[in-house]
Amino acid sequence: MTILQENPLQVDTGVETLSMAAALNRALADELAADDGVVVFGADVGALGGVFRITDGLTARFGENRCFDTPVAESAMVGTAVGMAMNGLRPVVEMQFDAFAYPAFEQVVSHVAKMGNRTRGAIRLPMVIRIPYAGGIGGVEHHCDSSEAYYVHTPGLTVVAPATPQDAYSLLREAIRFPDPVIFLEPKKLYWAKGQVDTSSTDEIGKARVIREGTDATLVAYGTSVPIALEAAETAAAEGRSLQVVDVRTLSPYDDATIDAAVRSTGRAVVIAEAPGFASMASEIAARISERCFSWLEAPVRRVTGFDIPYAPPKLEHFYLPDVDRVLDAVDSLNWDN
């Protein structure tokens, strides 16, 4: 990821340099301003502005009706959002950390995901569950889980994981406007990385994007693994190998078309994700590529993922996290003698 210098506000074009945290804050503010039915709530999102300051200043600007603290009970946060969405609001719920969302799991799986189907579309739930996810921040146990597999496995959920401030801004706004519930996974390690954000640009949920062109192999990444993929491609380029990078962006529904086309253009693929690899999003991506692009492949699809262990304590997490070397080792194994 390119870390840009802070620029002064460029009001005319709507382009500014923002951290991902600031971009998310801006997206919430812009949707609160655009739609009176948007409400933001969770634990510590009011006066404190959220433990990551994503909701900073929203209560002061929009009032306690629009952005408010609730008792610390995640099932009720998500369940009341269901009721609010049934009654015409567009709730945006903050789960403070990935693992703190687990008490809400029954509500997510049994109701959030199923209400539209259950009622033959009579009730759709336009709600967003924001989840700061994944590690790399020196967090203690229960603060660094990559929990995406639980959600992408559940039909009826739309799961988004941005990797840049621009995508964080545009996709969160889209998620709030979306007719169905969205699990919005925010890579907390990237909260403070800056990038240019055009607040006038719109985007579409459900679309992956080729973010670096390359001809020799394709790296498929999302969330926290995107900067690793980009750095690996940069390093490989210096060594004379041209790696293409695809950012999945929306994990479910998954954009087969873009990713298939990318992999077919290079004939080799490495999937990178921080979650344990067994029965994971990375496994699904690898399986889909193998099934749909087999005739184009020069080598088996490789996965670079976390180990199948509980997330590591802060002083050991560097052993756990996929890094550039592991990605390049995987690339090196892609049958280059063929």
Partner: protein, 364 residues
């Protein structure tokens, strides 16, 4: 309100006893005999619907039926106290209440019949889908009420659950949120003494669930769940409080599940028939009938009319459920998302191909 005002009475409110005699009460008024006669009419219809549904389940026309036989007064009262614009959040055992809200009986039974999960448009009848996971719907009710207050609408939300559901964490979270945000919700627990096979004594060490209310900072009340007059008075008061902006109330009705959990259950494995007989003596229909007869508000002619009406609804149910339906496999894919996905289109295409090939095979 002070803590002492939140605490319910030590005994359930009862306005008409099991012998059909009136009790005087300082706080709660008994509805007029004419109004109670209308309630009795609903009880008669509700009982007939329960028994017809049990029969249809035995015949395989319903996949399953959790009967509210014995709890009809709770079903009728929960709906009677609501305005048209209010919302009901029912459980799987509250099919009768769903019908009393105006949902066509066959549509209310869609889930039990097995041709879809929810067979009615919740917004049309202001009835949420019947919830199968315990207590989860209580939280939806709280969120729904929160949105109503946010929009400045006078909606009151009636949230139903059973005694088993009060052990769930979601029960606690719903009560707490409703109290903290001071929301217009009436939590109505039908304590029917059993969660499938587990008796209430193993569900809670407390004598009364209604007393939990005070711990959340809301008033609670216990009521005889087989006394329609008392239920109407207590629930009516709670609805009035909610509509006046005075916040939520927890009402516990002491009643009894007179039949097995569902047709798939065998209640002789976990309770004595003597216990069931004790509750038959407290039947909600019998006592109200006696009371209304003593007040000259019910005569043979009226009873004949009510019975005929109940038979008509039972016949409608039989006719609707004895008609074979042809399930639409495409519907399995149609409602998962507002806009379908390429993956679901592909999967439905694959299933459709299978179905077309098997039809072709059957024809050749």
């Amino acid at each position: 309100m002070s803590f002492s005002q939140l605490v319910p009475r030590n005994a359930p409110v009862q306005l008409i006893n099991a012998d059909g005699k009136a009790n005087s009460d300082d706080s709660y008024a008994t509805a007029s005999p004419a109004a109670l006669a209308e309630g009795y009419r609903s009880l008669v219809v509700s009982r007939r619907v329960n028994d017809q549904c049990n029969a249809l389940a035995r015949q395989g026309r319903l996949a399953v039926y959790p009967s509210s036989h014995g709890q009809e007064a709770c079903q009728v009262a929960a709906v009677s106290v609501l305005d048209d614009g209010d919302w009901l959040f029912p459980t799987y055992r509250d099919s009768v209440a769903v019908m009393l809200r105006g949902v066509a009986p066959a549509d209310a039974l869609t889930q039990m019949r097995g041709d879809w999960h929810c067979g009615y448009d919740p917004s049309e009848f202001r009835v949420a889908p019947q919830s199968t996971p315990l207590a989860t719907q209580l939280i939806h009710a709280v969120g729904f009420a929160h949105a109503a207050v946010f929009k400045g609408e006078p909606t009151v939300v009636m949230a139903l659950c059973g005694d088993g559901a009060t052990s769930e964490g979601d029960f606690h979270e719903a009560m707490n949120f409703a109290a903290v945000f001071h929301l217009p919700v009436v939590f109505f627990v039908q304590n029917n003494r059993f969660a499938i096979s587990v008796p209430f004594a193993k569900q809670s060490a407390a004598e009364s669930l209604a007393h939990k209310a005070a711990g959340y900072g809301m008033p609670g009340e216990q009521v005889d769940g087989n006394d329609l007059a008392a239920l109407l008075a207590v629930l009516g008061t709670a609805v009035k409080r909610a509509r006046a902006g005075e916040g939520p109330t927890l009402v516990e009705a002491h009643t009894y599940r007179m039949q097995a959990h569902t047709n798939a259950d065998d209640d002789t494995r976990y309770r004595d028939s003597e216990e069931v007989q004790e509750w038959v003596a407290r039947d909600p229909l019998a006592r109200l009938r006696k009371y209304l007869r003593s007040k000259n508000a019910l005569d043979d002619e009226k009873e004949t009319v009510f019975a005929a009406e109940a038979e008509e609804i039972a016949a409608t149910l039989r006719e609707a459920l004895n008609t074979d339906i042809r399930p639409d496999a495409g519907e399995l894919f149609r409602h998962v998302y507002a806009t379908s996905t390429p993956q679901l289109d592909e999967q439905w295409g694959s299933l459709r191909g299978e179905l077309e090939r098997s039809e072709d095979g059957a024809q050749s």
